[in-house]
Symmetry: C2
Subunit: 226 residues, 2 copies
């Protein structure tokens, strides 16, 4: 294994272990020793890649949006918006480490001293929703008086609260059902009726659209070693 490849693997192992620990106990209580134990790395290796716990957490936060594969294009843009939510729900439900750890870091408020920027992933999600809803609007799928910016913020808030309740009350067991209900109600208030009746909100869709999205992403990757 080339030195650079080994370094990349070590870095990823540290990130995954850190995300797991952040998910379990939060930023404040997360111990570097526990992250080292799980990633089977040395203190030297960890501090080579991440100068501090804060920078490690910030990198987990930065990866929140990028670990989620892009949805497979659909005839209706709003179906893509629904699918994006179901993919997120499926990943949290099935235990994606980086996503769970990152979402917990975003949702906990921390101390003024910890210096973590938790707004960045929220801004990224709002931006992502703004793009989707603007496309839906241009395609004539959105009711005329809808404030796209406010709707984008509302979708992020709705999902944030939904995952929080699902985790707290059921350990993410009902995450897909809850997300489907929330998304259906929010979309109902912004979609034109002729689009609304054609949308599929079934929770079971989550797994399928996730697998399609993963396949699309891996098909798009340029093979490096043929």
């Amino acid at each position: 294994m080339a030195r650079q490849e080994r370094a990349t693997r070590t870095r990823l192992a540290i990130l995954n272990s850190a995300a797991e620990v952040f998910d379990e106990v939060g930023y404040e209580a997360a111990a570097i020793s526990e992250i080292l134990r799980r990633s089977e790395t040395t203190k030297g290796a960890l501090y080579f890649h991440f100068p501090s716990k804060r920078e490690l957490a910030q990198e987990v936060l930065a990866k929140q949006l990028s670990v989620v594969p892009r949805v497979v294009p659909q005839n209706l843009v709003l179906q893509e918006a629904v699918d994006a939510t179901l993919i997120l729900a499926h990943m949290l439900r099935s235990g994606d480490g980086i996503l769970r750890g990152s979402v917990r870091l975003t949702v906990e408020e921390g101390t003024p001293q910890d210096g973590l920027d938790r707004r960045m992933p929220m801004h990224n999600w709002v931006e992502h929703n703004r793009e989707l809803l603007s496309r839906a609007d241009k395609a004539g799928e959105i009711l005329p008086d809808v404030d796209i910016e406010a709707a984008a913020q509302m979708f992020v808030a709705g999902f944030t609260g939904t995952q929080l309740l699902s985790k707290l009350l059921t350990g993410f067991d009902d995450m897909l059902e809850r997300s489907a209900v929330m998304t259906k109600h929010l979309v109902t208030s912004i979609a034109v009726p002729s689009v609304l009746v054609r949308l599929d909100f079934t929770p079971e869709r989550g797994r399928r659209v996730y697998e399609q999205a993963v396949k699309l992403r891996s098909d798009a990757e340029v093979p490096t070693n043929v």
Copy 2:
């Protein structure tokens, strides 16, 4: 001042200071010494009322629903539901200590070791919404196919995410506007149209309905010293 009255005041001072500290730094980082400093009480007095930090936090959590005054009855039950949300938003915005501290304790996930029951306030809010929406349903204000239980859970999730984004992005500055948008969209998907057009979702309503609710509560209290 009678001994019992003094004890009640001390207990309340401790609770308020603790809620403040929980709001600022969360449960894990909250220091008993800081709570003592702010409440101007002794360690002995604190441990007389609350045997541990956990019991102090649990009591702040238990008060979450009861610090919010009940809405003044309206012609439409759904207007009461809207008003209940606006009152909560107004109280978080204007800095109610117990509510802010308690909401933060609910939203942060804690460690498996901290032993706090964060589900209790969520269950209370869901129950409160279930009652309101069932009354609205009986009054013919809700569309026929709405799942009241799912809707009650969804309202709590929507509000939870809304307050989280508002705090994170604006320090609660836009809490009333965000809550009004979220509530309007959620109510839109469950209310019959003839009711919907009569509802008032303006954010400015928040302060007024809060003041009316406080007045109603104080009018209802039996005077003890006339």
